[in-house]
């Protein structure tokens, strides 16, 4: 689904991502794990166009998307959330949802927001994420967990094929994590592919089909959870030499 080849990005002296040749399997729940600072978020930013690589390429299906602007990559069907949840704090929950609906024609752009069909669709996602009762609240009034759910719901409004989640369970209570895992599983069954960065190992090992491990900016191994868990290189990366 996503294939990167020799992806590299440095910040001054720090190489955040190096020689990243990675494959994200279509139709699966892919996980991306690795110690703090191993380049997972940077990898996300490279794939979604938020930063440009120093070298290497990113392909989405058969399209070379290296260096494309983020909104064009989003239009291809990639949606993402951010590690530190990002929503539009001073907009209502419902308006947050509608930002992701794509507009191309001038008439659509000038129409008033809040077309009934779109609002219905937005409400559907809010119901599924369990925050429909908050729709008229300003997004900043939500709890952190609810904001994370809103961020995911807003991404889903764009109907992405591939969804990148950067630490969806970070800072979220266990009951919510449960709900999140169920939702990810359901969405996957409905045809969405996932790439999830996550430190919660129970969650990763429990739900993913394919795990990619990063260490110091480079992928060191990839495979099904059971295989990755017992790989000596992974143990070394996590436990230190």
């Amino acid at each position: 689904m996503i294939t990167t080849a020799g992806l590299r990005k440095s910040y001054g002296g720090v190489t955040a991502v190096r020689d990243a040749t990675v494959e994200v399997l279509p139709g699966k729940i892919n996980a991306l794990i690795g110690p703090n600072g191993s380049g997972k978020t940077t990898f996300f930013n490279l794939v979604t166009g938020l930063i440009k690589p120093d070298s290497g390429t990113v392909h989405y299906r058969d399209t070379d998307i290296t260096g494309r602007s983020p909104h064009r990559i989003a239009h291809l069907g990639l949606g993402r959330t951010f590690q530190l949840c990002r929503i539009f704090p001073r907009m209502t929950v419902l308006e947050n949802m509608l930002v992701a609906v794509r507009r191309t024609r001038l008439r659509e752009l000038l129409a008033g927001i809040g077309n009934p069909a779109e609002i219905e669709r937005a409400r559907g996602w809010l119901r599924r994420t369990g925050i429909e009762h908050m729709e008229t609240a300003e997004a900043r009034e939500l709890s952190y967990g609810q904001q994370k759910l809103l961020e995911l719901a807003a991404v889903l409004m764009a109907e992405p094929e591939l969804i990148l989640l950067d630490e969806p369970a970070g800072g979220v209570n266990p009951a919510l994590i449960e709900r999140l895992v169920t939702l990810i599983r359901e969405l996957n069954a409905e045809g969405h592919t996932f790439l999830v960065v996550e430190h919660n190992m129970d969650m990763v090992m429990g739900m993913s089909d394919h795990v990619i491990v990063f260490d110091r900016g480079a992928p060191i191994c990839a495979g099904p959870p059971r295989q990755v868990r017992s790989d000596p290189r992974v143990l070394e990366a996590y436990l230190g030499v």
């Binding site: 909104h71 929503i87 001073r90 209502t92 509608l98 129409a111």
Partner: protein, 323 residues
């Protein structure tokens, strides 16, 4: 009740020149309405997208010189001169915008200051065209009218412009395009990652906002009849649009208008009381700092919230577009 009071206010605004005892107050009225129109157009960019331009006087000056030169040097009929010059400035702003909106925050502010400074130097240096620091004289297109009647006419022309700009802001703010601009204001990278073509949105807002300011500049040239590059291309003049919008409240349709109703008459008053000094420069700066520090949301901040929740179609906050 709301409709009645709104209609009364509009009637009062239309009748103002006949309600005041002398032509000086009509003149002050023209200035105030002009400032209100400019601040509201500034707010298409500043309020909706959050990009603060201190250089919008560049577009005022270009609109004024464009119209003035076409009338004075080429003898064009004034409506044609006004239209062509405004369209030219909007196009120029779109081109400048493509470069300018690539930077954010303080860098964007500095780019806009550089723009107006460059225009100022150009207007002063290009003597053969602009007359340099000697003011350019624009013959009045309404030579049959005496000074007072001219004020009266332009009061209503500026009022029509103000109405048009308010309508534009209102329509944009409640449109999906306006929603995209607000998303940019809140978190630009996030908006981009959700598929909003942020660069195009910002350039359009920049050009639209410049267009109305250029129209104000053109009308000013026809009304005032004399253009001084140091005034029309000054950062302080640009800063006054910012001050009015922030003071009134830039999230609200009527915020910049309210700010103009306070700042413009106060400016005129101090001009009379203290004469032509540099005090207004300092005052504008100090006031701007005070507003930014102590009331960044402006006077119309959040009063509207409860009311809004009752009436609006649930998607928008009143503070973001309801009138």
């Amino acid at each position: 009740m709301r409709i009645v009071s709104s209609l009364l206010l509009v009637a009062a605004a239309l009748a103002y020149p006949w309600l005041v005892p002398n032509y000086y107050l009509v003149y002050a009225g023209v200035l105030t309405v002009m400032y209100a129109a400019m601040a509201t157009s500034w707010n298409i960019l500043g309020g909706l997208s959050g990009y603060v331009s201190l250089g919008h006087s560049a577009f005022f000056g270009l609109g004024a010189y464009g119209t003035g030169l076409l009338v004075a040097r080429l003898g064009w009929p004034w409506p044609l001169a006004l239209g062509v010059s405004t369209a030219g400035v909007a196009l120029f702003a779109a081109l400048v915008g493509v470069a300018a909106v690539r930077v954010r925050g303080a860098s964007f502010v500095i780019v806009t200051i550089a723009l107006v400074s460059a225009m100022n130097l150009l207007a002063q240096g290009w003597r053969s065209l602009t007359g340099g620091s000697v003011a350019l004289q624009v013959p009045s297109p309404f030579a049959g009218l005496h000074r007072g009647q001219t004020h009266l006419l332009f009061y209503h022309l500026f009022l029509a412009l103000l109405a048009a700009v308010l309508l534009a802001w209102w329509l944009i703010s409640r449109s999906r395009y306006g929603s995209g601009l607000r998303a940019i204001r809140e978190d630009e990278d996030k908006a981009e990652s959700l598929g909003v073509p942020t660069a195009a949105y910002k350039v359009v807002a920049f050009a639209l906002s410049a267009l109305f300011v250029a129209l104000a500049g053109g009308l000013y040239a026809l009304w005032f009849g004399s253009l001084d590059p140091i005034f029309v291309f000054s950062v302080v003049f640009g800063a006054s649009m910012v001050l009015m919008s922030l003071l009134g409240g830039r999230r609200h349709l009527l915020g910049p208008l309210l700010g103009a109703l306070i700042v413009a008459p106060a400016g005129e008053y101090f001009l009379i009381a203290l004469g032509e000094t540099q005090i207004h420069l300092t005052a504008t700066g100090v006031l701007l700092v005070l507003v930014v520090l102590f009331m960044p949301e402006g006077i119309l901040a959040r009063r509207w919230r409860r009311d809004h929740n009752r009436r609006a179609p649930q998607v928008l906050r009143r503070s973001d577009g309801g009138a």
